[in-house]
Assembly symmetry: C2
Homo-oligomer: 882 residues x 2
C-alpha cells in the first residue's frame, strides 16, 4: 500500500477541498462535519480518478483496499452489511467533479441489490413492487452505463412487457411482470457479456467506480471541457453513500426545500414533499406533492429540525440553499445541498436582506446577483397577476413582452406600423428581406429557428421582444392564419408574447412597465459606492434622458443627432440643404434646422443639468436623408409608361440624379462622420451653434450644463484638428454674442482601428474619447452588422466558430486589444483624459468588466440597461480588488 | 570683429560643406578646388543668413567687413574694380540653399552697373545695345526683388515704349529707346522710394545680399518648407561671382552641356551653345543654338577643355552632370554644375555603364535610378519616332498612352466599349456616376481637375491612362464636340493621349509595347543579387503569368479566381449554382465549373512551373454573379405595365427575390471570402479539386508545380482551421485517385485588423501569410475604396489631411503598424513562415521599402510593375545596410 489517501469518509475531518472531493463530496463532508444528519458514506478523490486514467484505466495501488476498508467502516456505521439478505447495505454511487459538467455518468441508486438482497429490501419497506422495481431499474442503469449495453435493448424488452400487460406507464406494471422483467434483463446481460449479471455487491461497486472514472473521458465530456475551457486534469470524484428510504411507512417521506422563496426572495422555507415516497414517485407523477408549509403539522419534529438545518446551512454557505431531504422512520436525512436558483427579484431581495441580517457584507451581496438576470426586471413584462391564456411556448429569444395584431408579412407590418398600429410579425422564420417589418413590429414570433436564428439575433439587436422556434404554431400564409393545438388565429387577431419566457398568449394582456424596487435601489446604491467605473446612458431625447437619470445614469454618453435632421418636421429642411444648388439656399435650410435643433439640445441638456452630456455631431451619410433610388426609378418608369405629369417626372429625375450621385457601395465605410464635417463644414457649424445657443439659454436660466462635443469617425489627426478648430470658433462666437461662458470640451469617438493605433496623436487634440465599439467591431472583424447578423453570423454562432456575438460581447482578443492599445497610448500622453464606451457593449456585463480592466472611466448604455451596468461595474471593481 | 567666418572665397580650401555654403556654393568651391576655370567669387554662409534673420534682419557683427575684404580680394584676382568706369568689376548674386527650393530670390546679374560703368561694359563688349540692355534689366530686377517695386510697374513702362516704337519684342527696341527706358526706370525708383537708384556698387551688393537673406522667410518659401518638411533653420547662402561675358566677339560664347545624353544615356557630351552670346539671347529666341557636337570644329581648344572638364566632373561626382559654361575671349569658364535630369532609359544606361567604367559599384548604381521613374518604360507609350500633332497639354495624371474615339458620356463609352471599340472618354470632370464608362475607356481626358481629381485618382487606381486639367479644351456637350486652340473635334474622331507627359494628340499614333532593354535587364539582375525581398506578380491568367515571368517575377503572389466563375462561358453555371433549389442541382452546376476551372489552373501553373503559385479561393459575394436588382425591377414594372410575357415576368420575379435575399448593405464587409466557404462548403471543395487535379496532370507531364491555396478574409482561427481541413481532405482524395504526391500548402490572406491582432494564433494553422493591404486599408481607415476615391479622398489629399492616397502608398502609422504587429506575432510562434504582400502596394517603392523593413519575404504586384518592385526591393535592402 502506498501512503496516498484516495478515499475519505464524509466524517473524516482532514479535508473539505472541493478540488479533491468534487463539489458534491465537499458539501457532503461539510454537512457531516457540521453534525447534520447526512447518510454516511465516503468520497473517492479526483486524484484517484487521474491516477486511474493515467495508468490506462487501472486502479492505482492501494485504492481497492481503501475502498474495501471504507466499506467495512460504512457497514459498521449503518449496522447493515453488503449482500446481507436480512439487512442489506445499499448505496448510491454518484460522480462529482469540482465543476458541474454534463455528459458524465451521473447516479446509480440501490447498488448492492441482487437476487437475495432484493428480498431484504422488500421486507424492510414492506413494498414488494417497490423492491423489485428498484432492482430492475438498477440492472437497467447498471447494464447501460457500467456494462455498456445499449439503452434501447432494455427499452425493447420493457415495451414488449407493457404491450403484453396492456398498460401505458411503467408504474402500472404488475409485480409479476416486474419480476419477469428482472429475469429478462439478466438474460440480456448474460447474452451480451457471456456472463451473469454480477451478484457480488463489491464487484458491482468497483465496476461502477471505474465506469464513473472512465466517463470523464467520454466524447461529450471532452468536447464540453474544450468549449468551456475546463482543464482536462481536474478529474472527477465518486461519492458512495448509504441509501435511505422515504417509503417505509407514514413516518417516512421525501422532499426538496429552498431556504428562501426562490421566486420572491422572502425569508421562508419553500418547497414540497411527499409522505411515504421515494424521489422517483414525484417523477412518475402519481401523487401531487404537498407544500412544505404543511410539514409543520404533518411532522412537527422533522419540520423543526429542517428549519434548524436551513438556518445552519445559510449561515455556513452565506447563500440561499436548495436541498434534498428524505425522512426515514421519522428521522430526517439531508442528501444534498447547493446554492438555489432564483429569479432576479429574489436574488436582489435575498442579497439585500442577508446584508441586513449580517450574513453578508455589501460587497459580497453585490457579487450574489447576476447582472444579466436583471434584464428580466428592466423590460416591459406581463403583469404576474394577469390571467394568461398560454397557447404555446417557444424559445425566449429576445426579452420583454408585447401585444399586437397578427401580421404575416413584413410589408403588412410596415404598412400597419406606419399607421401607428401595434403589430406582431409572425413568420415561419425571418430573413434579411423582413427587416423593414421587424423594425416597426412590437414583437416577433417565429415557428422555426433557435436562439441564434436570424429573428433572434436581429430582435435582440433592436431590443424587440421575440419568441423563436415556436414549433406548435402552424402557419398558412395563403389563408393568412395560423393554428396552434387546434385553435385558429387569423390576421388581425391580437396575440401577446413574452420574450423572456417564450410564452405565446392569446389576446391582449396587462403589462407592467419596469421600475426599481426598494431593494433594487438599495443594492444599486451600494454598487455606486464601490464601482470604479461610472455609468452613463445613451439618449437621443429628453424622455430617454429622464429615464436614464431615474435609473441612475450620471450623464449622457451619447446623443445621436440624426433625428434632429430626420424627424418628420426636419426632413424637408434637411433635404433642401442637400439638394441646394448654391450656398445661399443651403444656408437658408440650415438656418431653419438650427433654430429647431436648439430646442432639441435645450431639452436634453436641461434634463441632465449637473451631468456631462456627450453630443455626437452628424454621423450618417447624406443619402440616408433622401428617398430610395429604387422607388424613384419605379415612379419614373411608371410616369413614363403611363404618360404621367411631365413636371413631376422632371422633378423625380432630378432627385434621382442627386440620389445616385450620393449613393455608395459601402455606406458604412463611406462619406459619413467627420468626412461630412470636412467636406460640408456648414453642417457641423450649424449643429455646434444650436448646441452652444441652447447652453447659453440654460446658463442664463441658472442651470449648470456641460457639453462634450463629439467628432465621429476620426481616422487621422488632421481631421480632428480641423473640425475642433471650427467648433471652437463657433463657441467663441456664441460666447461673445451671449456674453455667457460655456462649459464644453471637444473630443472624438474612437471607432476605427486606425484611430486606436494613433490614439496618442489623437489624445493630444481631444478633450475626451468614447469608444464606438459597434463600428470598431464592424471594421476590426470586417463584418457589416446589418449583413452579418442576418446572413452568416447565426451560422457562425451555431457552428461554434464564434462563441459570442461580437456585437453583444466585446471581442477581447481583437477589438478589445485595440481598445487596450488606444487607452494606453492616450494615457501615455494625457493621463487625465476621460475615456468611455458608448457602443451597445456598454450595457453588457462581460464587456463592462473588460472596460474596467483596461481602465475606462465610464460605460454608457441604453437607459434600461443602466441598472445592469451599475451592478456590473461594481462587480468588476470588487473582483479586481480580490 | 568676431572670430566667426561668414564669407569664404571659392578658392578657400577650408570647407566644401553643403550645409554651410549651400549646394551651389559648395559646387563652386569644389570646382575651384579641382582647378577648374570657375569665375572667381565668394560665398556668404547660411550661418550669416541665420544670424541676420535672428537679429531682426541685421547683419551680424563682422559680416559687412568680411564682404568688403572678399570684394577687395576679388578685385585683385580679376584685375577689375567695383565702380571703375574703364574696367568695372561686375558680379552676379545668387541664392543657394542646401536643398533646392522655389520661392526664394534667385539671381541678380551684372550687379555693379551704374550710369558710369555701363559705359565701361559697352566698351569691353563693343555692343552698346547689350550694355544698355543689361543695365535696364539690372534696374528692373533689382527694383523688383531688392527694392520691392511691383513688377508690373516696370512692365507698364516697357510696354508703353514698345508701343511707341511699334515693336513686338524686347530685343527689337532701339538703343535710344533702351536708354530712355533706363531713365524712366530710374525715375520710377526715385518716385517710389524717394531716393535715386543706388549708384554705389557696394551699396547695391549689400542690399542684394540682405534681399536674398530675407527671401528665406517669404510666404511661399515658408509654405514650401512646411509641406516638404524642410527645417526652417537651414538658411540660405549667397554666392557673389565675377561676371564673365560670352558676347565680346566671335571668340566668345555660352552654352549648356550634359556629360552624357540625358535622353538615351549614351556617353557623349550633349548640349548646345551660341557663339558671341549671353545666356539671355537664348531665352529671347533670336538665334538657334548649335549642337555641342559642332563645338569641336568651331572652338577646338575650348571643346577639348570642355571634354576634359566633363570627364573630371563625372569622376568627382560619380554622376552625370548638367553644367553651364561661358567662353570669354577664347577662355572657357564653368559657371555651375549639378546632377543632370534624365529619362528613365538614360538613368538605367548611365548607371549600368558607370559600373562598367568602374565609376560606381553595383549597389551605388542601383541607388541612382528612381524606381517610380521606370513606370515610363513599363507602359504602352507613344513611339518617339512618330510624328505627333500635339493639340494641347494637360496634367500627366495616369501614365501610359491610349488612342480612341472621342465620347462625351460614360453611357456612350460603355456602349461602344462593349462593342469592342476603343474609346477615349472626354469630360469636363468626372464623377462617381462615370465609373462604368471609365472602366471600359482606353483613356480619360478631362478639362478640369488636378493630379488628385476624381478622374486622376480613379484612373491611376485602374491603371488607365489619363490626362486631367487640360483647360485648353472647351467641351460642348450639346453639340458633342470640343474645340482646342481653334480646332474642332467631334464625337467619333480619334484622339490620343500620353498620360505620362500630359500631351493630347490628334489622330491615332504608333505605340510601343513595353519591354526591357539589355541595360535594364542587367540592372535588374544586379538588383536581384542584393535584394533581401523577393518579387512575385499578381496574375489571373496564363498570359499575365507569362508577362510576369518575362519581367522576372519569381512566382505568383495572387491568382484571383473570380473570373473562373464570371467569364462569359462560366456565368450561366455560376448562376445555376446560386439559384439551385437543392443539393443535386448545385452539385451538377459545380461539376461543370470544376471541369472548366481545372483548365484555368492548369494554364497558370504550367507557365509558372518551378515557382510557387498562390491561388485565392473565391472571395466576392454571390450577388456579384447575378443581375442588378434595379434592372430586374425595371423589367418587371415594364412587363407588368405593358402586359408582357407572363412566364418571363414570373421568372424575373423569382430571380429578383433571390437577388434581394443576397443583396447587402455593405458588400465589402458582407457575406464573402471565407464566410462563403463556411456557409457553402461545396464552392471551395470544387475549387480545391480543380486545382489539385490540374496539379496532378502537370506532375504526370513532368512539371514541377507548387500551389499555395489561400483562404481569404479570415478573422478568427476557427474559420481557417475548418476550411483548411476541408481543402486537405480534397487534396488527399485527389492524391489517392491520381496516385500523385502534390506539393501544396494552405494559408491565408491577412486583410482584416483582427487577423493582424491574432496573427500568432492564425500562424499556427497557416502555411503562409499574404497581406491583402487593399482590404486592410479599407477596414483600418474605415474607407470604402470604391466610395472614398470618388468622394472625399481627393478633397482629403488636396487639403493635406492625408499626404498620400493610402490605397497607393502604405499608411505606415496605421495599416503598417498592424502589419508589423502581425509579422512579429506570427514569427514569434513560427519563425519560418512565408509572408508576402499582394495588395496594390506591392508595386509601390515606398511601400516596398516598408515591407522590407518589417521583414516580409516577398512583394507581389501587377506584372508591369515587377521590374519596379525588383529595383525598389534592392534599394530598400542597400539603404537598410547603409
Amino acid at each position: 500500500m502506498t501512503g496516498k489517501t484516495y478515499v475519505y469518509s464524509f466524517a473524516a475531518k482532514e479535508t473539505q477541498d472541493k478540488a479533491l472531493l468534487g463539489g458534491k463530496g465537499a458539501n457532503l463532508a461539510i454537512m457531516t462535519g457540521m453534525g447534520l444528519p447526512v447518510p454516511p458514506g465516503f468520497t473517492i478523490t479526483t486524484e484517484a480518478c487521474n491516477a486511474y486514467l493515467a495508468q490506462g484505466e487501472q486502479f492505482p495501488a492501494g485504492l481497492e483496499g481503501q475502498i474495501k476498508a471504507s466499506l467495512v467502516e460504512l457497514e459498521k456505521t449503518t449496522g447493515k452489511t453488503f449482500g446481507d439478505v436480512a439487512n442489506p447495505l445499499l448505496v448510491s454511487v454518484r460522480s462529482g467533479a469540482a465543476i458541474s459538467m454534463p455528459g458524465m455518468m451521473d447516479t446509480i441508486l440501490n447498488l448492492g441489490l441482487n437476487d437475495q438482497t432484493v428480498v431484504g429490501l422488500q421486507e424492510a419497506t414492506g413494498d414488494a413492487r417497490f423492491a423489485i422495481d428498484c432492482y430492475r431499474r438498477f440492472i437497467q442503469m447498471y447494464g447501460d452505463v457500467v456494462i455498456g449495453i445499449e439503452h434501447y435493448e432494455f427499452e425493447n424488452i420493457l415495451e414488449a412487457l407493457k404491450q403484453k400487460e396492456g398498460v401505458k406507464f411503467d408504474h402500472e406494471l404488475s409485480v409479476a411482470g416486474l419480476t419477469q422483467l428482472v429475469a429478462e434483463y439478466k438474460q440480456l446481460v448474460h447474452n451480451q457479456t457471456g456472463r451473469a449479471f454480477p451478484q457480488d455487491p463489491f464487484e458491482q461497486l468497483l465496476m461502477a467506480v471505474k465506469a464513473v472514472f472512465s466517463s470523464w473521458n467520454n466524447q461529450r465530456a471532452i468536447v464540453y471541457r474544450k468549449v468551456h475551457q475546463i482543464p482536462d486534469d481536474l478529474g472527477t470524484a465518486v461519492n458512495v453513500q448509504a441509501m435511505v428510504f422515504g417509503n417505509m411507512g407514514d413516518d417516512c417521506g421525501t422532499g426538496v426545500a429552498f431556504t428562501r422563496n426562490p421566486s420572491t426572495g422572502k425569508k421562508e422555507i419553500y418547497g414540497e414533499y411527499l409522505i411515504n415516497a421515494q424521489g422517483e414517485d414525484v417523477v412518475a407523477g402519481i401523487r401531487t406533492p404537498e407544500p412544505i408549509s404543511t410539514l409543520a403539522e404533518a411532522m412537527p419534529e422533522v419540520h423543526q429540525e429542517l428549519v434548524r438545518i436551513c438556518e445552519l446551512l445559510e449561515r455556513h454557505y452565506r447563500d440561499m440553499q436548495d436541498l434534498e431531504f428524505t425522512v426515514e422512520k421519522g428521522r430526517l436525512y439531508i442528501l444534498q445541498t447547493r446554492a438555489g436558483k432564483r429569479t432576479a427579484a429574489a436574488a436582489i431581495r435575498i442579497a439585500v436582506e442577508m446584508v441586513q441580517e449580517g450574513l453578508l457584507t455589501k460587497e459580497e451581496a453585490l457579487l450574489k446577483v447576476d447582472p444579466d438576470q436583471l434584464d428580466q426586471l428592466l423590460h416591459r413584462r406581463i403583469d404576474p397577476d394577469a390571467a394568461v391564456d398560454v397557447i404555446a411556448t417557444g424559445l425566449p429569444a429576445s426579452p420583454g413582452a408585447a401585444s399586437g395584431k397578427i401580421v404575416f408579412t413584413a410589408d403588412e407590418a410596415e404598412a400597419l406600423g406606419q399607421q401607428g398600429q401595434a403589430v406582431l410579425l409572425v413568420r415561419t422564420e425571418t430573413t434579411p428581406d423582413d427587416i423593414h417589418g421587424m423594425i416597426v413590429a412590437q414583437g416577433i414570433l417565429t415557428a422555426r429557428g433557435g436562439m441564434t436564428s436570424h429573428a433572434a439575433v436581429v430582435a435582440r439587436g433592436m431590443g424587440t421582444p421575440c419568441v423563436s422556434g415556436c414549433e406548435a404554431i402552424k402557419i398558412d400564409y395563403e389563408k393568412e392564419q395560423f393554428t396552434v393545438n387546434g385553435r385558429l388565429f387569423r390576421k388581425g387577431d391580437i396575440v401577446s408574447i413574452d420574450g423572456s419566457t417564450g410564452r405565446v398568449i392569446a389576446g391582449e394582456i396587462k403589462m407592467i412597465e419596469p421600475e426599481l424596487s426598494n431593494e433594487f435601489n438599495t443594492l444599486l446604491t451600494w454598487a455606486d459606492e464601490v464601482a470604479g467605473l461610472g455609468v452613463r446612458a445613451n439618449a437621443d431625447n429628453p424622455a430617454d434622458a429622464q429615464k436614464a437619470r431615474d435609473f441612475g445614469a450620471k450623464g449622457i454618453g451619447l446623443v445621436r443627432t440624426e433625428h434632429t435632421f430626420m424627424a418628420a418636421d426636419r426632413l424637408p429642411h434637411a433635404q433642401r440643404m442637400i439638394l441646394a444648388e448654391n450656398r445661399e439656399e443651403r444656408a437658408a435650410a440650415l438656418e431653419q434646422l438650427q433654430v429647431m435643433q436648439e430646442d432639441d439640445f435645450y431639452g436634453i441638456l436641461k434634463v441632465m443639468a449637473g451631468y456631462p452630456v456627450c453630443i455626437r455631431l452628424l454621423d450618417p451619410p447624406l443619402h440616408e436623408f433622401l428617398p430610395q433610388a429604387e422607388q424613384l426609378m419605379l415612379d419614373i418608369t411608371t410616369l413614363k409608361l403611363t404618360g404621367g405629369d411631365q413636371e413631376e417626372l422632371a422633378e423625380k429625375e432630378a432627385l434621382l440624379a442627386k440620389v445616385r450621385s450620393l449613393s455608395e457601395f459601402n455606406p458604412m465605410l463611406g462619406h459619413r462622420g467627420c468626412r461630412l464635417g470636412v467636406t460640408f463644414p456648414e453642417i457641423y457649424q450649424t449643429q455646434a451653434r444650436a448646441i452652444f445657443k441652447a447652453m447659453a439659454r440654460l446658463v442664463k436660466e441658472g442651470h449648470q450644463v456641460k457639453a462634450e462635443i463629439e467628432i465621429p469617425l476620426v481616422s487621422s489627426i488632421k481631421e480632428l484638428a480641423l473640425l475642433k478648430q471650427e467648433v471652437v470658433k463657433v463657441a467663441e462666437q456664441v460666447q461673445a454674442e451671449t456674453n455667457v461662458q460655456l462649459d464644453y470640451t471637444v473630443g472624438t469617438m474612437i471607432e476605427l482601428p486606425r484611430a486606436c493605433l494613433i490614439a496618442d496623436q489623437i489624445a493630444q487634440e481631444s478633450g475626451f474619447f468614447t469608444f464606438g465599439t459597434n463600428d470598431l467591431t464592424q471594421t476590426t472583424f470586417g463584418f457589416s452588422r446589418d449583413d452579418a447578423e442576418g446572413k452568416f453570423l447565426p451560422h457562425y454562432l451555431e457552428a461554434g466558430i464564434l462563441t459570442d456575438n461580437p456585437f453583444a460581447v466585446i471581442d477581447r482578443e481583437g477589438v478589445g486589444e485595440l481598445m487596450r492599445m488606444a487607452v494606453n497610448k492616450a494615457r501615455s500622453v494625457k493621463p487625465e483624459i476621460s475615456i468611455g464606451i458608448c457602443g451597445e457593449h456598454g450595457g453588457n456585463p462581460n464587456s463592462i468588466e473588460f472596460c474596467y480592466e483596461i481602465g475606462l472611466d465610464y460605460v454608457s448604455c441604453s437607459p434600461y440597461r443602466v441598472p445592469i451596468a451599475r451592478l456590473a461595474a461594481a462587480q468588476a471593481t470588487i473582483r479586481k480588488k480580490a
